[in-house]
Every structure is written in C-alpha cells, then in structure tokens.
C-alpha cells in the first residue's frame, strides 16, 4: 500500500519561447506520502505544478494519476480526478466570504443546476445544506471557524493561505498540491501549518509540496525532488538529497560542493 504509485510524471518538457522551463522531468509520487519539490527560484517548480493541474499544456511527456492518463485534460477535469492545488500568489475569490470560498470547492462534488436552484427542489435544498455543513467543517478543520463570515480579501495573510487549503480540500482530492504554503508566514503560523499538513496526510490525502523553507520541507517530506534550471538534479529521501553535491551546488553556487 505504501509503495503504490499515485502520480507519475514522465519526460515532462515545457519550453516558453527559447526558455526551457522543464526539460525531461519525471517524478513519482506514492500514495500517502508527502512529496517535497524544491529548487532555486525559476527552477520550474510552479511550471511543473501548472502542468500537473492542467493549467499549462506540456510540449511532451505523460501524466498518469491513479491509473488514469490526465495529460491534456482541462483543469476542471484534472480536479474531478482528484488533484487540488493552492497557489503561490494566493488566488482566493476575494468578494466571497471564507465559507463561500470553501463552498465553491464543493462545486464539482455537487449537481444542482439552474432548474434545481430556480425551483428549490428538495434535492437542491438538501445539497445546499450539505455543502454549507461540509464547508463549515473544513473551515474548522483548518482553524478558520471564526473567519467564516469574513470576506476572503479581508483576511490576514496566514488565514488566506489556510483558506486556500480548506477550499482545495473541499474538492475531495486524492492529491493536494501546495505551492509554497508557508511563504510569508511567521514561525508560529508555520508550526501550525506543519501540524495541519501532517493531519491532512494522516487523513489519507497525499501531499505534493513546493516550499522554500528547507527545515519545513525536509522535516515533513518522505521523498524530495530537486529542480534546477528545468532539470531534475536529484530525487530521493530528504537525508540523501541534502548531501547530494549537485543540490548543494545549485543552492549555494559553485565552489561549495
């Protein structure tokens, strides 16, 4: 069970004009683990995230998720298959409340259409209640119960980051991809975040994590892959990756290796 492959990206290539954002990158994420994706700025981590979630179409390569090919699928279809994500530059629905943001996450797990809403069918009413209830639970899970009625754009930074996680969890993902979730957080918030991520994993969601905070990523991750200039230069357990000379060189520059 622990070794079962959930996501495998093979030979992913993406060029933007002459710039090779990703060249022949392959990663394998196993079910139930926390997978860390690290690398210097501009290494292609976010591009890989965008490829995984269907926001960017790769030039070459295949993506297989839970036994299904997902490359070439639109973002909403990828989400339906069970990959949810957060964004490096927080992208909440600013004019909606925290609760409503999470309710939007329930969109793809619910079915009410125009007619159901117009006639308030029994199904529509029951579903709306279930959505509201679940969204409330997820806010509580992420420690945001007190913020339920606040507009997302009015929330403090750390709460916005956690709200993105709550919203992503509402889609019932098998894989949660987090793009620098600890960016801009203070030490206390980071500790709370670490606990939250551990809990999400314990509840059965596999995590894919881009993070600059080395302590955080090395402490949490079971496997780590390192990107540099669009190439994967190392992959493996955190301890071995940390000692890898190419990784040290990429992070500290030549001469230290």
């Amino acid at each position: 069970m622990a070794d079962e492959v959930l996501l495998s990206a093979t030979g992913i290539r993406k060029h933007f004009g002459g710039l090779a954002a990703l060249s022949d990158v392959s990663i394998t994420v196993r079910r139930g683990e926390i997978f860390g994706l690290i690398g210097p700025n501009g290494a292609g981590k976010t591009t890989l995230f965008n490829v995984l979630t269907g926001l960017t179409r790769p030039d070459a390569g295949t993506l297989s998720f839970d036994g299904i090919r997902i490359d070439g699928l639109k973002p909403h279809a990828v989400a339906r298959h069970g990959i949810a994500r957060t964004f490096q530059n927080i992208r909440l629905f600013g004019s909606m409340t925290a609760l409503e943001n999470v309710m939007v996450g329930r969109h793809l797990r619910s079915t009410t259409g125009v007619l159901g809403a117009a006639f308030r069918t029994r199904h529509a009413v029951a579903e709306e209640q279930a959505i509201t209830k679940r969204a409330g639970e997820l806010l509580e899970y992420c420690g945001l119960s007190a913020r339920s009625g606040n507009l997302a754009r009015d929330l403090p930074y750390g709460d916005q980051r956690r709200l993105e996680i709550a919203r992503a969890l509402a889609t019932e993902p098998k894989l949660l991809a987090l793009d620098e979730p600890a960016a801009g957080m203070n030490a206390t918030e980071t500790t709370a975040l670490t606990a939250l991520l551990e809990r999400i994993r314990a509840d059965g969601v596999t995590l894919l994590l881009i993070e600059h905070d080395m302590k955080l990523v090395m402490g949490l991750s079971h496997s780590v892959a390192v990107l540099d200039y669009g190439e994967k230069i190392a992959e493996g357990e955190p301890e071995s990756v940390q000692r890898n000379p190419r990784v040290i060189e990429a992070y500290l520059g030549g001469g230290f290796a």
Binding site: R80, T97, L99, V104, T112, A117, T171
Partner: protein, 360 residues
C-alpha cells in the same frame, strides 16, 4: 434570540412584504390619478427594464463578463414574438407558446455570442459583444430583401396584444369597481414577470451556479482549478442573461404592438448597462433600483421645458438638449459620489451551521 422575538421579527417582515405588495398593486391607479396615464406607461416600461437589467446583471454583475450588446437579446425576443404573432407571416401563435419560445431563441443567441468569445475578457469582450449587438440590428434592418422577413426599417406592425385564455390585455376591463385599461393590464403582467425575475435572480445568486459565476468573476484560473468548467458556466451565464432579455422583448413587442430596429440601438445597450453599474453591479436590489431610476429620470427631465416656462416666463434652452445634458450630469455625479453604485453588492453572509442551532 427567544421564540417570541423571532416571531415578531418574522411578523414585521411579513407586514413589510404585504405593504410593498399592496403598494405595487395600487401603484398604477395612484400614478394615474396624480401624474396621468403616460406615467403608468413609464412605470410599465420600467418593469421591462428591471427584467433587462437583471438579465444583464447575471452576465456582467455575477459572471463579470462585460457585454455591450445586450439589447440584441431584447431584439431577438421582440422579433420572435412579432414575427409569429402578426400579419407579417399571417401567423398568430398564442402568447403562452411564444413567451417560452422567445426565451429559448434568445438563449440560443446568447450561446451563439458566448461560444466564440469564451477566451475574451474585459475590453476585448466588450468590443466583440458591441459588434454582436450591431450585427443583430443591421440584420433586422436589412432582412427585407430578397425575401422579406423583418420588413426592414419599417418594422413590424399590428402585433397581437397579449391574450391569456379569452382575456385580452388590450381591452378595458372592469373588476371590483376598478377600471383596468390596457396599460394597467400590462403593468400587472409585467409586475408578475419582474417579480419572478427578481426571485430567480436571488435564487440563482445563492446557489451552486451563482457561486460558480462569482468565482469566475473573481478569479477564473482558480475557479477552473477548483473544478468549475469555466466554458459551460460562462455559456450558462450568457444563456440565462439572454433568456431574461428574450422574455422582456416578447412582452415589449406585444405591449407596443410595433417593433422596429430603431428600438434596439447601442445607446439602449448602454442604458441597460448603466442601470446595472449605477444601481450596484451584482446586487439584485441595486440593479432593480437602477433600472427604475434610469427609466424614470429621463422622463421626469421632460418637465424641464414646462418648468422653464413657468419660472422664467419663456423656454431658454431647448428642453430636449437640456434633458440629456442633465441626465448625463446625473450619471457623472452618481458615479463620482457612489462609484460602486447606489446600492453596492455586499456579499451576503452565510453562517456556518452551529452544533446546537437552538443555543446562544
């Protein structure tokens, strides 16, 4: 909160609703007595614009898609009705068939507009929709040769009035001592349709679909990553908005008894957009208010001529010029003073369910 306080609160709300309903029922009679019959007509037209503005509000206010050609759907609805209930083709289909048909045809046109513009936003979308509105008008203007379909600039006349069962809205009826002239009858039909539009708008807003619309308005990319099929949701917004326009168009055609391309110009699209923006984009109550005010204001400004006569003894400035000048000035002032609209959208607060709903 105690049960008693809750009941009182509910009772007050009920009382308010009953008062509003009675006022709306009495409105045409009061208006006729105070301001004359022409104002009853203006109020009826205002109700049509309420429907139009609510339809455009779905597209612009909820989904954030700037549409400058919205009046085209009004035109499609109006001509659908006019062509199938007039001597033009010598067909006279009943209103209860034509109204949903007009709505459906308008919805199809909404999707026709939406489909090619899915990738466009903001300024670019505005330009394409503007072009779409013009295309519809130009077609209506020129589809009289080689086969006469729309009768060109002359428009279509002698459109059947609304008739429900044996009850013709064009005739005067007496009921319970009150005289219901044609314009009164239409007022009540329009009132029902406007009320249904308001209810539908509110229900859609507070639903899964409404949240999806607002989500793509706020951040389309994030919305798609959360599993919203942005293409379908946008097309749905265009189709729903167009439906409102189509129904209003059919009612308009039967009310006027005459349609021509002149009623569906760019300025009309812009007026409806002004109603939405000025009233408060995304807020149903604000949009209704905007529609009523912006229909009534230009009409009220017709009095600038007689007022000059009375105060100055003669007409100094041509009232037609002054009227639009004052109207423009009012728009500028309102936008300066209340840039988010008269009654801005404040996203409603949905409270999370508590463990103990009776506590606290």
């Amino acid at each position: 909160m105690s049960i008693n306080a809750l009941l009182t609160g509910q009772r007050v709300r009920w009382a308010a609703w009953v008062a509003i309903a009675l006022l709306l029922l009495a409105l045409p009679f009061i208006t006729e007595a105070v301001l004359g019959r022409s104002w009853v007509r203006i109020i009826a037209v205002a109700l049509l614009f309420v429907m139009l503005a609510l339809g455009l509000n779905i597209v612009v206010g909820f989904a954030g898609l700037l549409d400058l050609g919205y009046i085209a759907f009004f035109a499609v609805g109006a001509y659908s009705y006019a062509l199938l209930a007039s001597p033009q083709f010598a067909v006279h289909w009943p209103f209860l068939v034509l109204l949903p048909l007009g709505a459906a045809i308008a919805a199809v046109f909404g999707i026709l507009l939406g489909a090619p513009t899915l990738r466009l936003r903001g300024d670019y979308l505005a330009i394409v929709t503007l072009g779409f509105g013009e295309i519809i008008r130009v077609f209506l203007n020129n589809l009289n040769r080689p086969v006469n379909i729309t009768n060109g600039p002359q428009g279509i006349t002698l459109i059947d009035p609304l008739q429900i069962g044996g009850f013709s809205l064009a005739q005067t009826h007496t009921f319970a001592g009150l005289t219901f002239s044609s314009v009164h009858n239409y007022y009540f039909v329009f009132l029902i349709c406007a009320a249904l539009s308001i209810a539908l708008s509110l229900r859609l807003e507070n639903s899964r679909i409404g949240r999806a619309w607002v989500a793509i308005r706020d951040d389309e990319l994030a919305a798609s990553a959360m599993g919203i099929n942005t293409r379908n949701i946008k097309l749905l917004a265009f189709a729903m908005g167009a439906t409102f326009g189509g129904v209003a168009g059919g009612l308009f055609a039967s009310f006027q008894g005459f349609v021509s391309p002149e009623s569906f110009q760019l300025i009309d699209s812009i007026m409806v957009l002004c109603m939405v923006v000025l009233g408060g984009m995304g807020n149903v109550a604000g949009v209704v208010l905007g529609a009523v005010l912006l229909t009534a204001l230009p009409e009220a400004l017709r009095y600038v001529g007689p007022l000059q006569q009375r105060w100055l003894g003669h007409v100094m400035v041509d009232p037609a010029d002054l009227r639009m000048l004052l109207f423009g000035l009012a728009l500028v002032l309102m936008m300066l003073l209340r840039p988010e609209g008269i009654w801005p959208a404040r996203r409603r607060i949905v409270s999370a369910p508590t463990e103990n709903p009776h506590g606290g």
